[in-house]
Symmetry: C2
Subunit: 143 residues, 2 copies
DNA sequence: TTTCGTGCAAATTGTTTGCAATAGA
DNA sequence: TCTATTGCAAACAATTTGCACGAAA
């Protein structure tokens, strides 16, 4: 299930943050480009069109910060250049298995999304995060 | 086997590039901090000390570019902030295995470095890239 | 001597911040 | 009304580029 623009707006309202044209437009842009990785500049441009009013980049960054703080959004710096933003998906998770003690830790699949995306882009290989486990050494065994 | 400063200098010479104090110092810094992830600023500082002469940041970037172009160096943007550089190790690689046709593709381990690093930072889990394969669908099976 | 590589300074790109004006609750 | 949020402009951080001089080959 995907987050809608209204979901985002609602959470802003619930935290007694104000719903402005800029914020609404940014939420809409994020909600309607779900699987896409957008830079702040991309979001700004689309939000401007959608809002029909002037929106500043600083407003975009500030809004993204707020949403990220609440866990609705993530951003990563793939390769070089600008960071890319996208909404958090339902918490599919990925397992980290310790080869020493067998413990497994769950991490949100989203954490791996950036690499999986870049692997797809570069090698045409669609990785299935859920089908593999990361093997390594857990924190306590590392000591 | 690790690359020494001389190895690096030698390759520069072989390509008829000039061996300057700045370049030599940068090579030495890289060679003597093998497993470390250094930013360009770190490298600049250490190279300045080592060379005993003024070295400019642009020179550092240009030298790093050259070494990277020749495959002796990699850099990645982990998280935010400055990118980090490190010499290429023996080409450890990672396998992408297609679950449909069994084909496997090799990708440089370095490709996965960003996530592995963030997983370590966030969960104290040291992933061993070489011990897992990414399972998914390859380009031709995807059609 | 002939270029290549340098330092310097200024330009670029991506992101953040200070502040007075404005609009949401 | 009251104050959170905005746009603007300026500050920042990381990296790149233009250029004339100096130094490797």
């Amino acid at each position: 299930m995907h987050l809608s623009a209204d979901d985002l707006v609602k959470t802003l309202r619930e935290r007694s943050l104000r719903i402005t044209k800029a914020r609404r437009a940014i939420c809409e842009v994020l909600a309607t480009s779900h699987e896409e990785h957008m830079s702040a500049a991309d979001i700004l441009e689309r939000a401007r069109v959608r809002a029909g009013v002037a929106i500043d980049q600083s407003t975009v960054y500030r809004t993204l910060d707020v949403l990220e703080e609440f866990g609705y959004l993530h951003h990563v710096h793939l390769g070089h250049g600008a960071g890319v933003y996208h909404l958090s998906e339902e918490s599919d998770h990925q397992h980290l298995v310790c080869e020493h003690c067998g413990t497994s830790v769950e991490i949100p699949l989203e954490e791996l999304a950036p690499v999986l995306a870049s692997v797809t882009a570069r090698y045409g290989f669609v990785a299935e995060g859920v089908h593999f486990a990361l093997v390594g050494t857990c924190e306590s065994c590392a000591k």
